[in-house]
């Protein structure tokens, strides 16, 4: 029995760098330029209509250092795709998915807060969880564990 995800993987085959399976979902590793067109196809042709999560992983010893991770879900077929795109520290930018999914707005803002990934095309990358004036990106591995940026001066 070939599942729907096998079919998706085959039809996408040419554009995708690496494809594997993990916990029942399809994992695609895409080059940065392929991201937007592939997600566009996944949404329109394969009915992955829900963007569940946008996050990133910091691999301090790897080059390129960051992986931006997207989770897509199909409410019609109830299956999932995970997409990873590697970006470098010098230019940590990917195309934004706000043109395809409204939920990308806030999740990309959060990812920008925490990892400093720049989402080109997201109109509003102001801090969402951090506060104005916060310097740095706290979930990067080189952000000190005890680095605090208090808004109120300490009394002791």
């Amino acid at each position: 029995m070939t599942s729907r995800l096998d079919n998706v993987q085959q039809q996408l085959g040419l554009q995708v760098g690496g494809a594997s399976r993990s916990h029942g979902s399809l994992v695609l590793e895409l080059a940065r330029a392929d991201l937007l067109p592939v997600v566009q196809r996944l949404k329109t042709e394969f009915a992955f209509d829900l963007l569940l999560d946008v996050t990133a992983v910091d691999w301090p010893l790897k080059t390129p250092r960051f992986e931006v991770v997207y989770h897509l879900y199909s409410t019609q077929h109830r299956d999932r795709v995970r997409i990873k795109t590697a970006v470098e520290l010098a230019d940590p930018a990917v195309e934004s998915l706000v043109s395809l999914y409204g939920s990308a707005h806030f999740m990309e803002r959060e990812c920008h807060d925490m990892y400093g990934i720049v989402f080109r095309g997201n109109p509003d990358l102001r801090p969402i969880l951090l506060y104005e004036g916060f310097v740095g990106h706290p979930l990067r591995k080189d952000y000190g564990k005890h680095d605090e940026q208090p808004l109120v001066p300490y009394r002791i």
């Binding site: 506060y131 952000y143 564990k145 005890h146 680095d147 605090e148 208090p150 109120v152 002791i156």
Partner: protein, 170 residues
């Protein structure tokens, strides 16, 4: 007939004022310790324990600390229940400054006391870095008995402390 010994001589001035000023602190302390109006500054999961300690089985009403006031201007016990983040610290400071004297602060739970296990960029490691604290309640979350013990200790302190009618702020 036994001779009575006068407490004061007939022509000595009245000592009513001395008597009044020593007993005044006791009276005011007694009144204040049974009319603690708490302001719950509730930020995290300790809120569940705060609800438990306020409701029937434990019932802080017995200590006169039952009526949460949701305006800092009407309250005199600031209960900081839960984690304080750096983003919220200015709000806590403003609430504290809005409270009228006399005021007391309780750090409820491990996070309010020391930051608990949140030793990171987001959390303040103890509210005493922002405002002065009168009593710390340990536990994650504290048992209701611990909270009641803290309220009683605070009441003892209020009862035995000096209550000036006029202080440097007024």
């Amino acid at each position: 007939m036994a001779k009575t010994i006068p407490i004061r001589t007939a022509n000595a001035p009245s000592q009513a004022f001395e008597y009044f000023s020593t007993k005044k602190d006791e009276l005011v302390g007694w009144a204040r310790k049974f009319s603690l109006f708490p302001y719950p500054f509730v930020t995290a999961c300790c809120a569940m324990e705060f609800m438990a300690v306020s409701s029937t089985p434990y019932d802080t009403d017995r200590f006169g600390a039952a009526l949460p006031r949701f305006s800092p201007r009407q309250s005199d016990l600031l209960m900081v229940v839960g984690t304080l983040t750096h983003k919220q610290a200015p709000i806590l400071l403003k609430v504290y400054e809005q409270m009228c004297e006399p005021k007391w602060v309780m750090a409820f739970g491990a996070c309010a006391t020391s930051g608990g296990f949140y030793q990171n960029y987001a959390a303040v490691a103890g509210i005493d870095k922002i405002i002065p604290v009168d009593i710390y309640v340990p536990g994650c979350p504290p048992r209701p008995e611990t909270v009641i013990d803290a309220i009683m200790k605070l009441q003892d302190r209020i009862a035995h402390s000096h209550h000036p009618i006029i202080n440097k702020n007024f």
